[in-house]
Symmetry: C2
Subunit: 564 residues, 2 copies
């Protein structure tokens, strides 16, 4: 057995570095994003693939307390047969097991818990290739993206949550002396102790598209602050979280803790286990990523819990002018294409003055801009192999349906097309559709069209674009916003507009940074200030609601009895 305290000592340097990075918010990453042999070793890729293949067609080996039977609910967007089944959870048994595991976890203290968490994340990192295959074949992400976003980037976000949880839960000193001066008498003296106590059972509800990246922050923030965690995966993306839970349980048991501190809640689709768990009186923390419908339901109904949701919104681009027209088109077309727009951060509404914009390549009319954006998409996605690596596959029928609906519009600027994949002939791969709208068409563009659907919206002017941006994002939310302008006044106005709308802003991205990507330890994801999310990955608000600081106090023993 390696105790939590010993694990803390083992990973102390990593944790200290992570806390420093979270404080300074400059560039730092603990886990290399390159799936190369020079980084992960000669055998990492093939052995990860073997590990994944060995899971196919079997019951996944993870213990679930009180499980009855199995469920198999996944299908690969790349068309391969998965056939993996999982123990079917009994929600009441999971809650009971979680509660029983809690007291020893409370006693482990924040440092011990952070040590356990760091060990878990390191072991997750060691299985990045296996996880990459699991993410690819449940989400439809192309392999390299599945490796990066589902592996090291998710691990960085996990470690970031650990760092915030550790820093916040140790900010109040565990012991403090208090001596109040008294006129003509000795001071009143007390010794005070502060103990971190978790809020209660935590529930993490995963999504279909980013099962690890979006679940890890809540999982690790709750765990480090003293809470047991029930992990409820999306029925379409169980495997990446099943592997994660398996690793958590293995490390917890080795550390002398109950493995039931982290359990897997797999269900048949439509069984409603998330709602059952979310309204259980002992479930006190909920992290959710997914649809606004269920997120809003959770916020309204899970009254006994603190609820952190990341839902959806109207990610907006304001185009005013540019001194790098090619860079703009290249950057924006890649943002629309990456993972077929199935990122919660993909731009949907592109606001352009109907009179056109000024660029380093001269004035561009609204229609010219649309044609140039379409040409840029064509260039980016012209080669099928490269296109497949950027687009990945369509995750489910809901996305396909919206793509078809948008494609039927009379004002398509760039039509969607199918792409063939050499390796996976049954993969469902589509290029994005871009549709021209007018500012008056708010019924269309104030809905979220999750997937590869974007709108080029003609506005009266850039100030009108900014006003529309503030109004729509305040009402419907957004996770990202970006602006292109050469005017310092417009940029200043866009910054104020983004503060009013409550969304983070990217300015003039024309190079290798994209509005839909955020870096752990530096970029916040979500704000809480608009309806798309209730909190930000990661800041103090995201972690401080997960624990309580409880004090005890007593008089300092008189000196003569101090050594009694």
């Amino acid at each position: 057995m390696t105790t939590p305290t010993e694990l803390y000592e083992t990973h102390r340097e990593l944790l200290d570095r992570a806390v420093k990075a979270a404080r300074e918010r400059d560039y730092w990453s603990a886990f290399p994003e390159s799936p190369s042999k020079s980084v992960y070793g000669e055998d990492a890729a093939p052995s990860g693939e073997r590990a994944f293949t060995a899971l196919l067609g079997k019951t996944f080996p993870v213990e679930v307390p009180g499980a009855v039977g199995t469920v198999a609910t996944e299908r690969s967007p790349y068309g391969i047969e998965l056939g993996i089944s999982y123990p079917k959870a009994d929600p009441l048994a999971l809650v009971a097991a979680a509660r029983a595991a809690t007291p020893a976890w409370r006693a482990a203290g924040p440092y011990g818990r952070a040590g356990v968490a760091a060990e878990i994340i390191k072991r997750i990192n060691a299985r990045s290739f296996e996880l990459a295959h699991a993410v690819q074949h449940t989400t439809g992400q192309a392999f390299v993206m599945a490796f990066q976003a589902g592996g090291p980037h998710a691990q960085d976000r996990a470690l970031e949550a650990v760092a915030y949880a550790l820093a916040a839960s140790t900010r109040m000193p565990a012991d403090a002396g208090w001596a109040k001066p008294q006129r003509g008498a000795d001071p009143l003296r007390l010794e005070k102790t502060t103990t971190v106590v978790g809020r209660g059972v935590a529930l993490v509800i995963g999504c279909n598209t980013f099962p690890t990246w979006n679940s890890y922050p809540g999982l690790f923030a709750s765990l480090v602050t003293g809470n047991p965690v029930i992990v409820k995966p999306h029925p379409g993306a169980v495997l990446p979280l099943a592997i994660t839970v398996q690793i958590c349980r293995e490390v917890l048991a080795e550390a002398g803790q109950s493995p039931d501190l982290v359990t897997l809640a797999a269900e048949e689709p439509g069984e409603g286990i998330a709602a059952t768990l979310a309204t259980h009186p002992d479930v006190r923390i909920i992290d959710f990523t997914g649809s606004s419908d269920f997120g809003n339901w959770l916020e309204a109904n899970a009254r006994q819990a603190v609820v952190y949701t990341e839902k959806s919104g109207l990610n907006t681009v304001i185009v005013d002018s540019t001194d790098d027209y090619k860079g703009l088109l290249r950057n924006l077309s890649f943002s629309l294409s990456l993972y077929s727009g199935q990122m919660c951060t993909t731009p949907q509404n592109i606001l352009v003055p109907r009179d056109g914009i000024e660029t380093d390549a001269g004035h561009k009319s609204f229609d010219e801009f649309g044609a140039d954006l379409s040409a840029a998409l064509g260039k980016l996605l012209g080669d099928p192999k490269r296109a497949a690596g950027t687009l990945g596959a369509i995750v489910n029928d809901g996305v396909l349906g919206r793509l078809t609906e948008a494609g039927a519009s009379p004002s398509v600027v760039h039509p969607s097309a199918g792409v063939a994949d050499e390796q996976y002939p049954h993969a469902t791969i589509r290029t994005p559709v871009v549709v021209r709208l007018d500012a008056a068409d708010d019924k269309t563009y104030t809905r979220e069209w999750f997937g590869p659907v974007s709108f080029l919206i003609a506005t009266d002017s850039t100030p009108a674009s900014l006003a529309l941006f503030v109004e729509t994002v305040r009402a419907h939310g957004a996770l990202t916003a970006s602006v292109y302008s050469t005017s310092p006044d417009v940029l200043a106005a866009a910054r104020e507009a983004a503060l009013d709308a409550g969304v983070h802003l990217s300015e003039n991205l024309t190079g290798g940074v994209f509005v839909n990507q955020t870096a752990a330890f530096s970029d916040l994801h979500g704000t809480g200030a608009n309806p798309a999310a209730t909190a930000s990955l990661t800041d103090d608000y995201y972690v401080t609601g997960r624990f309580f600081a409880l004090q005890s106090r007593h008089h300092v023993p008189a000196p003569e009895s101090a050594d009694a």
Copy 2:
């Protein structure tokens, strides 16, 4: 005009010291609690009294945007005629004025806002004697307590909230550079800016018994994090908050800000302005102190806001054994008597094994303990003048009603009696009642009996007392708990029980520290971990929900264009 930034520079040393005290949580106080001439000056007491007297029978001079007419709702528990009226608020006008004032306040930044807050608190401190009279004649607190709890102690809690708000809202750097290494190319470089944005209009709902102490933390936490604040006083205790709002507005205007950042919402009793404001879509933060009924209503209905409530509960004392029996009796009888038990922290349920306890004065049976506690109360309150100074006056008829109801019990251990006051012949002053109950009488003792009503409850044993303590506090809440024992095992079990119950614990208080008193910068007040309160005064959780950190990011300009 003195700008917010200049005010920050003026008070920088005080703010730095406060942030340090909040971090270290040892003894520190910014504002002397002694109402003596040597501290506050020869003329402070008489001039404070003159200022108070000058307010009687008039309309209080505070501007309220959109006010129509006036209201006069206060009566002194000491029987003097107040006759002060206040502008009657129009809730929609207050919200509109608050919103209009917000943008310039956001632009002032955390340091500027903390500077303004520090200036306000210093001016409040300078009017401590005037405020003491205002608190005495609205709450019934005796003068010295009204001075201390309503003045310097409340000011310390205000400064503590400022310190937490300032530290939390400046923890993320305002500017950060980010440089991501690229293989075979220059690093990707971004500059990132973080701006603190308030959540929205804040509402502070005051209580009748501690109008300043309980309102200041929320008021200042919201203000410093960038929010305008509407202060809704209890109709029975308007004056202390009207003076506070007057000072806020004066300082804000002098700092070039809109005074409507802080407004007073006075109403006729029963008008329901608190509920109207609390459910307004623009009201996004609520701080409430008062009854569980309305607190629970707010938590259930003010869905658009973060809600911080401090309600009521079953403050519990577990008596197991002592090596200072006289000290225990002296300390406990004072805790029951101070301000006639009208503190949210006064012990209600005193759990004693029915077989009695071991003490340094020999074994004491349950009945002997009751008789000795009654005798200690008699000794403490035997002299009417000293009794009046400890008890203060009964704040309202609700308290009197409960006192009468409890006094009619067949098992009164210590009966309540009236006390005459020399200075205020019409004051309503009563000593506490103590009633004997059995552990089976849970219907009686699981209700909160706010006021000078306590129960001596016979249990089967100390382990039974601890189990009863955990069960009742988990279900009904508590703000305080204390234990008396000479056994390290019992103390350890009591600490675990307090962690399970989610309440702070005081151990073996026999001297000059009382369970119902907490010191700013060191003792937390409330926990969030039981139903009595949703948060703690003051920790990071109490402040982090009041603001958002919004980022903007852009590429670093290329060197050749940096000075363009």
